[in-house]
Amino acid sequence: MTTDNLNISETSSTPAIQANWEDGTVHMQGDSYPENSFELFQPVIDWVERFLREAKRPLRLELDLLYLNTSSIRALMDILDMLEEAHTRGTGISAVWRYDAANERVGQLAEEFKEDCTFPFEITART
């Protein structure tokens, strides 16, 4: 990989994904029901892995996700597991999940994802 940043455009079935090496942020926004979730998320997983290995700096995950299909749920859980591991090794990790206040269910689902994470994980309703 030559570029340090990741920039995947949003489609009707996949979220917009930006990973910024300089800022140490990963941002995902939109719906996620890709036909091939491996194809979509592997670059993200690789990027996070490389950042945690090489950057030695805090990493922040920002999520504005609405609907996730099953394989996307799995990929996101893998990413959260990686972050949790980095957190226990002492890397500064934080996450935020923003959702529309009108859709309280999304907030409840974010809570489910948060369950096994011990790093700071904010869930905030947008009004």
């Binding site: 609907y67 996730l68 099953t70 749920i73 859980m77 489910e112």
Partner: protein, 266 residues
Amino acid sequence: MSSRPDDDELDQRIETLLRAEHDGNPLRPALEALFDRYRTQQRLLDRLTRISDHFQQAERDRGLNYADRYQRKVRQIEKIVRISDRYQTMLRELNDRLHLISTRDELTGLPNRRYLLERLDTEISQVARNGGTFSVGLADIDHFKSVNDTRGHAAGDAVLAHTARCIQDSIRDYDVCARWGGEEFLILFPQCAEDDAFRLAERVRHVVEDQTRALGLSPAITLSIGVTEFQPGESLDATLKRADDALYRAKEAGRNRTVGSAPDGA
């Protein structure tokens, strides 16, 4: 691995014997060689046992590690399933809501025109397949425009909602009334010939009028209704056109009445 006490005792006895001066005893070199071989064997056995124990321990750790990883995977899959189910529930509820929104008239809560058109298509298919018949009644609130003009749109909306409730309460469970547009309602009377539909429409008309009189509304809300029966082979448009014509005649004849589409209908 330590030897048993008996072994230790025997070892000591032999060591004592070998230390003592027994030159010339032909058994001594043999005993010495044998004891030496025994010692070597003993050390070998100890080492073998230790190595074997290590292997067993490693295998055991590996097994536990697998079990641990397996448990973690199971937990992860259970969690994925749980979250996935909740997403599905969310989508299903959204789907139900969209379905409701797309088939209901917001103001009156009645089924909307789109819903009834689909129902009428189904009804026509059923009549074509199984025989039987059905009728429709097109009802229009009399002088509705003047309600809107003199008492405002909020009052007009209230009249529409009230009329819708009256109609809904006065039809049979399997009849369907939809808000057809403006102040028009279309009622489907399944398995009903025109004369029966006529009687049912009259009941609706009376209920609406009586209810509004009971509320003290002045002038009372009344309906004009055109009723017609579906004719096998004709298009839905043809049926609706006949109901519309009958409604027109009801208005022409002075309103607050039901008119059928039969040649001598009324």
